[in-house]
């Protein structure tokens, strides 16, 4: 790589970490596998906090007129629950898979920009901390995860909570953008010889499409957030209705981002399921090209449907009709994918272990969520469903029954690769059935109470309304789900410490990550693999070629070295973020820190010339 040995105009003597150990190793690491584990563990902890928020919500709603949490705390709970699950749970859990799996699936030694990758993790962590610290610093955001302006302007919402939300989301956005730039370049440019685009594993394809969506969608919400921040901090007029501002501006900007975001959440899940089902059905994936094209079509159509979130705002019959039709159209490529998954399993020699159970759970739950989605894609019927528990049921079927089930399937599937050990199959199955039954009893009755008119985001309800029975059932079942997740945590910790050793290819896999040992060596591939077909590793196993012992000396492989700078740049961003909320001078100090550390980063060579 061409790199200028630029002269530093100032001296920065923070000598480069050489072979760090312990905590320092994790702070300075730029190994995509370690970053993947950091991402996964952090995001899972956030997922747990979001789950606790959900349990508090369900406890408050267990019976009519309960007073377990105060109304203003309840508002903060549902806002933080959704924000956490979307931005700190599902998205970074997907990012954990991107980090760990993508370089392995494309036969690369690391991502294209290892330090940028570390930067995206630390920025995510600090963004999450900013968001969550609001609980201890005077109250969390309380205007819903969509933060509709003008309700979020200082006139109606003077507290600090919204500022935490604005700053937290912007910092998280920087993390997501950095990761997506990295994965787009990695997937285009770091593929092993012969691994053409139509030979890529489907998970890599879904990651690629997700990253493109993210790169185009996040700038839109960033602009919306900057506008709101300027309004709140410097009295600009973007959402000031007194100055004639249009209250729909925020909704448009938010949902132009928000709908692609839905596919950012679900496409990686679809990719995970597309890896698991062929492996355990002992068949190649059915309709590979159709799967890729359907995902690309879903991603494209994701940009043409945002106003279906706004049917009841009075856009008029023409806009509502157009967005009804475009929304319904998305059911077609989704159906294509659904039938291809079924086709993959059809006639297969299916092994019903935990990853497959979760994948089949994904198919059935996502189907139910998809069907209720088509129901409110029809604008006339949406008028009845808008802002009721029917929508809550839909979103949880696609995000919990859909995305989270697929992510759990993926964790079980790749657990031997991540840790070199096997998980406990019996606990895994118990975990699945508790979550599967619990989630259906929690979320299915929401369709009923929603149809009976129970609105979302109310902190309690009158006993006369007739919603008490199903709400009680839902709240009980929510604890069943929580117990299932507890079994998962026990399984993970127990198996990671003392599970039986797993070899490199425990599932008779098809993709390149199974061709190396578990956990993979730091350099991943001793010799860069040469790919000749789709599912190349599986085909080569059938030929039963005796694997030739590689003559490459692992010590001769040059790997990028650890660095302090990515973490320090993120820290600067976090300081600047808190500065915007509390004190603009602190913000300036944070930005100065970002500037200095970015310069130091860019002048630090990828490899020290004298190091090995």
């Amino acid at each position: 790589m061409t790199s200028i040995p630029l002269k530093l105009p100032f001296k920065l003597n923070l000598s480069r970490p050489t072979n760090p150990t312990g905590v320092m190793d994790w702070i300075t690491t730029i190994d995509h596998k370690k970053i993947g584990i950091l991402y996964g563990v952090t995001a899972f902890i956030m997922f747990i906090t979001g789950g606790i928020e959900a349990l508090l919500i369900r406890t408050q709603l267990a019976g009519p007129e309960l007073k377990i949490v105060a109304p203003d705390v309840y508002n903060q709970l549902f806002t933080m629950h959704a924000t956490t699950m979307i931005f700190l749970g599902v998205m970074p859990l997907s990012a954990a898979f991107f980090n760990y799996i993508i370089p392995l699936q494309i036969g690369a030694r690391d991502v294209a920009f290892p330090r940028l990758n570390a930067f995206s993790y630390w920025t995510f962590l600090f963004g999450a901390l900013i968001m969550k610290s609001s609980w201890f610093l005077g109250g969390s955001p309380n205007a819903g995860w969509f933060g509709y302006a003008p309700i979020t302007t200082t006139t109606f919402n003077p507290g600090n909570g919204i500022d935490f939300w604005i700053v937290g989301l912007q910092v998280l956005g920087i993390a997501s953008l950095a990761a997506s730039f990295n994965f787009i370049v990695t997937i285009i440019n770091m593929r092993a010889p012969g691994l053409s685009f139509m030979r890529l594993p489907l998970f890599t394809w879904m990651t690629f499409i997700t990253a493109i969506l993210l790169v185009l969608a996040f700038p839109v919400i960033t602009v919306a957030l900057i506008e709101l921040m300027l309004d709140r901090t410097f009295d600009f007029n973007f959402f000031n209705t007194k100055a004639g501002a249009n209250p729909l501006l925020w909704q448009h900007l938010f949902w132009i981002f928000g709908h692609p975001e839905v596919y950012i959440l679900i496409l990686p899940a679809m990719g995970i399921v597309s890896e698991i089902l062929p492996t355990f059905s002992k068949k190649p994936v059915f309709g590979y090209a159709a799967m890729v094209l359907a995902a690309a079509f879903i991603a494209f159509m994701g940009w043409l449907v945002w106003s279906h979130h706004m049917f009841t705002t009075g856009l008029g019959p023409i806009a509502n009709s157009v967005f009804t039709i475009t929304t319904m159209l998305i059911a077609v490529p989704t159906g294509v994918k659904m039938f291809n998954w079924l086709g993959t399993m059809w006639g297969g020699d299916i092994e019903f272990n935990t990853p497959v159970l979760f994948s089949v759970g994904f198919l059935s739950m996502f189907l139910i969520g998809g069907i209720s989605g088509v129901m409110h894609s029809f604008s006339a019927s949406d008028y009845q469903q808008q802002d009721t528990y029917f929508i809550v049921a839909h979103i949880h079927y696609v995000l919990f029954g859909g995305a989270i089930f697929a992510i759990f399937a993926g964790i079980y599937y790749w657990f031997p690769k991540f840790t070199g050990r096997m998980y406990d199959e019996k606990l895994g199955k118990q975990n699945f059935w508790l979550m599967f039954i619990g989630q259906n009893i929690t979320f299915f009755p929401m369709h009923f109470v929603g149809m009976q008119g129970m609105p979302r985001r109310i902190f309690t309800y009158d006993s006369e309304m007739g919603w008490a029975f199903w709400n009680g059932v839902e709240s009980f079942a929510a604890y069943v789900v929580a117990f299932g997740v507890l079994l998962f945590i026990i399984n993970m910790i127990k198996s990671w410490i003392s599970g039986p050793k797993a070899d490199g290819d425990p599932w008779d896999g098809r993709t390149l990550e199974w061709s190396i040992s578990s956990p993979p060596p730091v350099y991943n591939f001793l010799d860069v693999p040469k790919v000749e077909s789709l599912d190349d590793f599986w085909h080569k196993k059938q030929k039963k070629n005796k694997s030739v012992k590689s003559k490459t000396n692992p010590k001769s492989i040059h790997l990028p070295q650890a660095s302090y700078w990515p973490m320090l740049v993120s820290l600067g961003l976090a300081i600047a973020g808190y500065g915007i909320i509390y004190n603009l001078v602190v913000c300036g100090i944070g930005l100065a820190m970002v500037l200095v550390t970015v310069c130091a980063w860019s002048w630090e060579p990828v490899n020290e010339p004298d190091a090995h």
Binding site: M1, V220, F236
Partner: protein, 198 residues
């Protein structure tokens, strides 16, 4: 790490293109906000009152010429003519700074003479946010070019072999120019053109 990439395009250059694609959506959202609010709210003071098209045409011309100057700088670097490269770099930086000077002049003129601040009305809010964001992009570009120029004063630190570093800065610079052409047309020309629907 292997030096070869699958496509033969350098990773950093690809990253730059992806970033610019992302930045397009950033400016599209800001321009969209401006257009949605055009002609609404308090109309006591608007584009027709404050814009001085001849002055802004001059600064636009200067920015466009800086792009040409950037091309010359890159061309001379590739030919390893470092002295000519330095001259064109200085010229690019000066023209970029001149554009920024014009913007500072324009903002202060609007603010002090016409009493137009971001708080005044929707036009003030959207105008300052959009052109200010663009100005910030130009500032980053000027600083970036200045750093490359500064390091070229040391022997062998900038050469034809390392032209990619300049190439990336140049891509960014041209992008920022193109965005200005859109802003100049949409905000300035459409804003003052008689009979253009607001």
């Amino acid at each position: 790490m292997s030096d070869e990439t699958t496509t033969g395009i350098d990773n950093r250059k690809l990253l730059m293109w992806v970033f610019l694609g992302s930045d397009c959506m950033f400016f599209a959202s800001l321009i969209g906000t401006y257009l949605i609010y055009k002609g609404t709210g308090n109309l006591d003071i608007g584009p027709v009152d404050v814009f001085d098209i001849p002055t802004t045409s001059v600064s636009t011309f200067v920015l466009l010429m800086s792009s040409m100057s950037m091309v010359f700088a890159y061309a001379y670097l590739v030919r390893n003519n470092i002295n000519a490269f330095r001259i064109w770099m200085v010229s690019t930086i000066i023209m970029g700074a001149t554009f920024l000077g014009f913007q500072v002049f324009e903002f202060s003129e609007f603010y002090f003479h016409y009493d137009l601040s971001p708080q005044t009305n929707l036009f003030g809010t959207t105008f300052y946010a959009l052109t200010g964001t663009h100005g910030l992009h130009v500032t980053v570009g000027v600083v970036w070019l200045a750093i490359i120029f500064y390091s070229s004063l040391f022997r062998n630190s900038v050469s034809a072999e390392t032209n990619l570093d300049l190439d990336l800065a140049a891509l960014y610079w041209h992008f920022v120019d193109i965005v200005w052409i859109v802003i100049f047309a949409v905000v300035y020309l459409f804003g003052t053109f008689p009979g253009f629907p607001s």
